[in-house]
């Protein structure tokens, strides 16, 4: 598997956005004073007329994006996820989702691995907020390559979309040639006893946990749930057949995100294995180096291994 360990999902987004805009002249980008950080420099240099610096005003950015969409553009509105969607929730609900305008919301610096900026800048509730909105789709790519494909996919999808990206240099878990389809989870590893369903940065930790558990002869399946909405319930229904334990892993509150989406599917079944949701336990983050924070808040392969050994 190709290792692109220094590239992030935001890098993949920025590169794919230029590719998509080259193919489709309707693509325009907006940001709220986070051009470089949201990896928009290349876009702004390549398409200066189609790049809009909106200033630190996320509500107006999203509203203007909705207006651009009404005129036939494909606006891509970019800021940190704590500001976009979180500061722009009203316009996203009414101007975007209710009107079904073709707006793409890009939330950067998602998750606790945002690191030293601290809790104010670590979005941990955005998946929950976006998942409840009618007409919205929610995509959380796992690595650089997948972020590129996800960017193309949400731009080709006609309708509101939320793309969650980050600055954490994850291990590559997908390849350039791997298929990516909105709403279809991908099985990255087959296994019989335990299934770990993960999204975003946690996919690489899930794979590492599966490798570590081989030593204990525990067979672990790993599912990359890159699309949280529409949710691939069939992949969950297939998965639960013979498993003894299910684990969800996400850099998000354990309420409202991936773990909750899985629990909703399981709740429709009369019998299913227990689900343990790994994520932020109803708490905010704090400042610190990314890897140390992931360790402290038990969002690592080692934490997953300990959990599996404890539960089985």
């Amino acid at each position: 598997m190709a290792k692109e360990n220094n590239k992030t999902t935001r890098d993949g987004f920025g590169e794919a956005l230029v590719e998509a805009a080259t193919k489709n002249s309707a693509v325009v980008a907006l940001t709220a004073d986070l051009r470089e950080s949201m990896r928009l420099d290349a876009f702004a240099q390549t398409f200066p007329d189609r790049f809009f610096e909106m200033g630190v005003a996320e509500e107006n950015m999203v509203g203007a994006a909705a207006g651009l969409a009404l005129a036939g553009k494909i606006p891509v509105a970019c800021s940190y996820a704590v500001f976009n969607p979180q500061n722009a929730m009203g316009p996203i609900r009414t101007s975007v989702c209710y009107s079904k305008t073709n707006v793409k919301i890009i939330g950067g610096h998602a998750g606790i691995s945002t690191g030293p900026d601290g809790a104010t800048h670590q979005a941990l509730e955005d998946i929950a907020l976006m998942r409840t909105l009618p007409n919205m789709i929610v995509v959380v790519p796992a690595d650089y390559q997948e972020a590129k494909k996800a960017t193309h996919a949400i731009i080709e999808h006609h309708g509101p979309a939320y793309l969650r990206i980050g600055k954490f240099p994850t291990n590559a878990v997908t390849t350039e040639s791997a298929t990516f389809e909105l709403g279809r989870a991908t099985t990255l590893r087959q296994g019989n006893t335990v299934a770990i369903i993960a999204c975003g940065t946690m996919v690489s930790e899930a794979l590492r946990a599966a490798e570590l558990l081989e030593k204990y002869s525990i067979s672990v399946e790993v599912l990359n749930m890159h699309t949280i909405k529409p949710f691939d319930r069939f992949s969950i229904l297939e998965l639960v057949q013979q498993k003894k334990l299910l684990i969800s892993m996400e850099e998000h509150q354990i309420t409202g995100g991936l773990g909750s989406a899985i629990a909703e599917v399981l709740s429709e079944l009369s019998h299913h294995p227990p689900l343990h949701r790994m994520g932020m336990l109803d708490t905010f983050g704090e400042s610190g180096p990314d890897r140390e924070l992931l360790k402290k808040y038990e969002l690592t392969a080692e934490a997953a291994v300990a959990l599996v050994l404890d539960e089985l």
Binding site: G67, A71, Y98
Partner: protein, 234 residues
Amino acid sequence: MVEVFVSLYFKLAEQKADNPSWPERDYVLLSAGHICPVLYATLAERGYFPLSELATLRDINSRLQGHPHLHSLPGIEISSGPLGQGLSQAIGLAMAFQLDKKTNHVFCILSDGEQQEGQTWEAYMYAGSHSLSNITVFIDRNNIQIGGTTDQVLPINPLDEKIRAFGWNTITIDGHSYSAIENAVSDAQESDQPTAIICNTTPGKGVSFIENDFTWHGKPPTESELQRALEELT
């Protein structure tokens, strides 16, 4: 605001009632969605949908939603109701038309209570600093909102000076005067900046028991009150 809607739909805005999505049209965005009954009535009179449908306002399965929905009714350009969201969408349209070198004009109708929303001022700031002269705003300066007069709830004066400070051309008119509305729009077309037309209006004008009484801001008259009002107006 009936005078503004009538002026726009019957004279000033380039529109085609039989082709509401005509790409070359001028856009009329109602940001203050709660005054949609006057928009609906104007659209019906203009032929966007049958007049008979007006009676279904707020009924279940009606296309005339309590606040406008973009896809429910011909002629509606944006969903609105939550205040403060319309002007940003006007800006997005204006940005697109400038990018594509198109001459469509964007009219946007705001309430005065809506001036208390932060998003409105984000939008003023952007449009003024980017000289989006293809936007004209009408502000219904009736000085009432749900909880009392605007001066009681949260004063917004000096409104014209504030908006001008954000880089806009401002014009204050008698909002009930058709000629004043027409002249203001004509002046707006000469400006290199976006224009805000502050329309001084009397809420409930012409109905003695409703005029200037904020408690009528969000409630419909009873059947007998309706008859009294219609008698006073005719």
